[in-house]
Symmetry: C6
Subunit: 261 residues, 6 copies
């Protein structure tokens, strides 16, 4: 994979580096599709550390993180989970949307997050000390759920918090053009539409048009679809199933986008 592309917006890079020097875990907040994963990839790259990414989900068990016994040749053999692997290697372990996971899954990260810096592996009856360089990063979208309910305070208070948001228009245009492989004018048109949707007052949409959606629409244009079809397929119909909303968003797109076809 090529070097990840990340343009800093505020002091998020500085805070991450300070946390990394001290081995402190990091909590990434931000809306869907604003670039959290890309930020962590860039940080791992800058710090020269391996990145182990795990997507959280509500049926994830602690064994999915820590490891399990598999039966091989009549013997039970222990296989490290991704978290244990990162702990042994001194890698950055990125738990994406961890609030999806169950409490018991989250709780295994406590001793890693405080001054103990070790991972208890109950099933092995041991504790694995974190190798130098190990760092825990977890992310979530504060707009979705009451995080105070989902993450225990005693876990949350062990983290340094960084808040990401959609980038300013110029940076976002650069990102969309580069990621979708389209010219700057088309990218700017898409970003203008995206920001118009984000600015809708009292929007009934649960989510706004993320940078990711704009890149997707740009990609379809790069494959030869008209801008209108691409925006409908990758933005309008993705943001809503409601016929009235779909129709209103379509009209907004027609008004905002250049009439190039």
């Amino acid at each position: 994979m090529s070097t990840p592309f990340y343009l800093p917006v505020s002091d998020e890079v500085e805070v991450f580096h300070a946390a990394a020097r001290r081995g402190l875990p990091v909590l990434l907040k931000g809306p869907t599709g604003c670039g959290k994963t890309r930020f962590v990839e860039a940080m791992a790259n800058q710090l020269g550390r391996e990145l182990v990414t795990v997507a959280g989900h509500e049926d994830m068990t602690s064994a999915d993180l820590v490891g399990r016994f598999l039966l091989k040749g009549g013997e039970t053999v222990w296989v490290d989970g991704p978290l244990t692997r990162a702990v042994r290697q001194g890698s950055i372990c990125y738990l994406d949307e961890i609030v999806e996971a169950r409490q018991d899954t989250i709780v295994v990260i406590h001793p890693l997050a405080d001054h103990r810096r070790e991972l208890p592996v109950d099933r092995l009856g041991t504790s694995v000390p974190a190798a130098p360089g190990f760092q825990l990063v977890i992310s979530y979208n504060p707009g979705y759920q009451s995080v105070l309910k989902s993450i225990k305070e005693s876990t949350r208070q062990r983290f340094v918090a960084i808040e990401l948001d959609f980038p300013p228009a110029d940076i976002e245009t650069d990102i969309v053009a580069r990621e979708a492989g389209i010219d700057a004018d088309t990218a700017r048109a898409l970003v203008t539409l995206g920001r118009a949707i984000r600015d809708l007052d009292g929007s009934p949409l649960r989510e706004v048009a993320s940078t990711r959606l704009l890149i997707l629409a740009g990609g379809l244009v790069a494959e030869g679809l008209s801008l209108r079809s691409a925006v409908r397929a990758a933005v309008v119909r993705v943001l809503s199933d409601d016929p009235d909303l779909v129709s209103a968003l379509g009209e907004l797109a027609d008004a905002v986008l250049p009439n190039r076809e």
Copy 2:
């Protein structure tokens, strides 16, 4: 199987091909029985790719998609699930009515759907990169549930959305005649009835008469049943259990259908 029969209605074929060229996942929306499965079969045929279809259901686990260990001869042997098979082969994987599945099942498709294009197989401790040609297609019926609840936004925003509906009367008549093996007049009579039922104001029916139902009725006629009996067996009694509704639909059918017997 013979070449699947599909008559395009809007730009759905063009969008699918653009998404396929870019390797983007596709979200198919549309009512029950409008032809979503047939559309995907036609696309796979046009693109010359193998199609792997998986029907979603609420107890489907991620192991049902990804694979599991089976015990053979005292050894645990890994057996790929249908999704993993499609990923390795570069096939189209069609997850039909995926919103039926649990969140943890859906979450395994994230890294396949974004720029990573890989399937993490936690139980093997590895990630399978998607072979060229692999494409994910998922379908659901927006009329059934709040999709915004069932599909996570971060999943949904990785897809290109295509919306299908019942075809126009002429195309639907062609489809019913061809699929049921009946003459055009009978097919037209069935389509006329189907559209009459779909147009009922404030209908208490949860579903309208789909193309699939009309084909079914046509099939019974092809087997020698009277049109009246066929419509009652394959349309009226299928659409409702309520005695009053069944009776009202029967009268509507008598009024609309030609009195040929």
Copy 3:
């Protein structure tokens, strides 16, 4: 087992045969004890096909239908479930009261019910094509639950629906006399009582006196019990636990039944 005894009431036999010729699945609706099982047995007999019957219940899993691995001699051995057996043999598979089963159990019958006519066996990683003659029949009682909730529309719309009810008095008398082994007068008395109970206005009974109950009472008479005792044991006390209702039904029975003892 001797040839099943079935007297047609409407066009149910004709519809079943047409569906069978086309290989279409059949949905049997009707109240408890009206003769659904006997009808399917008669159809299988007429068509010269083996009948595989499975009683649905709410904890039935798809493995109960499709099959499972059993551990034999240290090896896992696959054992076909009843549905898989019927699919391979080209038998009629009758899923009795299938709405009792969980959605994931019902969902396995989709590809069998549509034009694919195959049973995916996920655990074997294969699909079993239906042998010629295979036909799916499912039954339920529309009075019990909201079927629209229990059976997914996309399943339901793949079926031809047949509705059964209690037979007319003469046919029911024949059935009761024959099945219970009693004379026509006693059978007629029982049928008269049964119909009187079914006609009760605003009855608080969840179920009415089914043909099955009348046969049961007749059987006790054939064993030498008085008609009065038999009706109380097999009809009155079976229909209710409520002391007042039991007493009222007993008085109704005394009024309707001939005073032969």
Copy 4:
């Protein structure tokens, strides 16, 4: 065990024998402790059949009735459950308080209860035909729950119903004296108290003083306890935890019982 002691009250013995001759299953209704188990033991004794008793409970699985595979010496070995044993042997199988069991457990008895008279053993892939003499008996207390909810109608309508109640005073006195090993006067005093408690108007007690409780109190007297202590330990404090009720029942006992100490 000696010959079970049972004194008939109504025609329950006659009905049971007729059902037994015809191989029909029996449903026993009656309050806690009125003698249902003893009645079944007496019937099995009179008919010269072995009795297999299974106590129902809410976590009972069908495997508890039908059987399961156990791992022995690296091989899975099938072990019949009590129901399967009774079916093979032609015994009476008494499922005590079966409404406690889950629906899927109850459903296995359907094919045994109707004209098929066979027990499908899914895990073996076979059906065990009932040996001559096999008879199913289930019991429940109609005062506890809505039986119409707990037992499916299609199950319930396959049974002959017998209703038991507390025996008349003379018979109950005989039973208490004989079972507790006390003289007739003490037994009569206990029965008088029991009937006084059963006759309390608008009693807040969920259960009344059963024959079983009176036998228990009698047994304590036979061990040398005073009648007053025995009644308090085996009747009053057993019937309620509420201090006021315990005190009121104690006063009732003092008023009814002879002042012999």
Copy 5:
């Protein structure tokens, strides 16, 4: 362990002995910490029988009582649970706070509690007859839950009931002094405080100061803590987490306790 110390309050010893002679099960009612366990230990000691104690909890399964198969050397080996051990040995089996357990766990004790006196071990396919001397004792706190809901009537009516309460002041002072190893004056002060707390009108405390708490406080005094500190650590802060209540109880303690420091 030394001979258990128990001072009788009412006729509880007499009733227990009569029940033991007859082999009848015993139901012990009483508030937390009033001495139920100690009473059973004293009875077992007086009767010269071994005591097997099992603490009930809500996830206890019947296997926890009866036994289970363990895999040893590739063979499944049966290991008796504590109840089975007591049944075979003729010991007293004390099921402490059994209402915590699930119904299916409680149900296994039915055949042990009635005239059958045997323990069915379904998984072994056998029944273990109770050895002479076996006696079942169960306890619960009637103040906690509706016992009528938690214990099935048919179970409850097989037991002799004994009710225990906090002992009179003199006996309680003896117990506290002896158990805590403190002088009679300090013990009396603690008992005076305990009774003052029990007598609080309309107390918002869920539990009152039990004998066990007073012994605990006495033990801290015996270790050199001041009476004030000991009462705060072992009584006040244990009875409540509410700051206002903790403060009010502290003031009550200061008013009641002698000002010795």
Copy 6:
């Protein structure tokens, strides 16, 4: 690990030592991050005992505490859990936030907490007596849940209770300076901010700024971050996700903190 740093606030050390001498279990109450873990580490150090710490969580099973069988080389091998290990060794076992665990997990500690001082290991069929020096310590945060609901009274009444709170300003400043490795002035500024947040009237924050948070912020300053950035990353954004609250806390921080940059 170096000697744990603990400055006593009230008589908590004296009470802990008295409980330790008597072998009594200890209940630690206090808000998140106030130093409960550090207190127990200091007590273990002073008493010269090993400390075994287990973090409670809602899916913790009793096997996680007591131990389990693992399959090794075809044999089941018993592996002690952390609690069993502590019991055998005579260590202090600290169950952190035990109210998170299920009742059945909590219940295993009863016999360890009372005069029996033994751990029943049901799966081994034995009881492990506590070695001299074994002591149980459990902690919870009374502000979170109704402890009276979560901990059974019969468990709770076996413990000596100690209540911890945030330390006085001077002690807290010492702790923050020492733990974060910063100068006293910066530490004092952080403590001043922490206390200002704790004193907010009617705060909508679920938690206040704990000592742990202040140490974290100090750590970032030690790594070169500005005090403003550090406080925002480690205090403000950690305490809330609400944009308004985050902004208000930021302003409070600007007002309270010295303007050093």
